[in-house]
Amino acid sequence: GQQVMQIPQYQHVQEGEDFTTYCNSSTTLSNIQWYKQRPGGHPVFLIQLVKSGEVKKQKRLTFQFGEAKKNSSLHITATQTTDVGTYFCAGGRDMRFGAGTRLTVKP
């Protein structure tokens, strides 16, 4: 069946450094969504990508969808302590979630 893999599992950065998480699927995805979950909270929808090669930005966050629609990335520029949390990708017809990347930021 479809698998959605996410790397790295953990990332610890100094405040101000950049951060990237990658999402890879074993099959072509019709769309991919990204969510953020703060510690002790629930996932919150960030964005959806649909088109091959699509790039979207939300302030310091840049989301990309691969040309083959099998991979995606989330890049955060100049991390802040408010970026702490776990970032999940999810995609495909049955919306499989990756295991998430847990980001910690040292002030």
Binding site: G1, H42, M95, F97, G98, A99, G100
Partner: protein, 112 residues
């Protein structure tokens, strides 16, 4: 966030007992989902619903059943709770299948 609430927020139950978790949304969303979240596994789909009385299984449906008698309510039942069902359960809803999901605050279930 949209109006989606889960109850109870925390529950401790004994092995072998039935447990029902409730999800209630006030957004008139057609699609509703139950996920479980465990360390290292992300969110795994248990069951979902695409309309009143229309439900289907997800990837980890064994030992769970659901019911949706009204648009706003989606119930998850553990027929006979086991320790492996200790988890955090999230409900989600969306207007259309390819829209972003709105999640509830979760139910932390412990089976002892």
């Amino acid at each position: 966030d949209a109006g989606i609430t889960q109850s109870p927020r925390h529950k401790v139950t004994e092995t072998g007992t039935p447990v029902t978790l409730r999800c209630h949304q006030t957004e008139n969303h057609r699609y509703m989902y139950w996920y479980r979240q465990d360390p290292g596994h992300g969110l795994r789909l248990i069951h979902y619903s695409y309309g009143v009385k229309d439900t289907d299984k997800g990837e980890v449906s064994d030992g769970y059943s659901v019911s949706r008698s009204k648009t706003e309510d989606f119930l998850l039942t553990l027929e006979s709770a086991t320790s492996s069902q200790t988890s955090v359960y999230f409900c989600a809803s969306t207007r259309e299948a390819n829209y972003g999901y709105t999640f509830g605050s979760g139910t932390r279930l412990t089976v002892v």
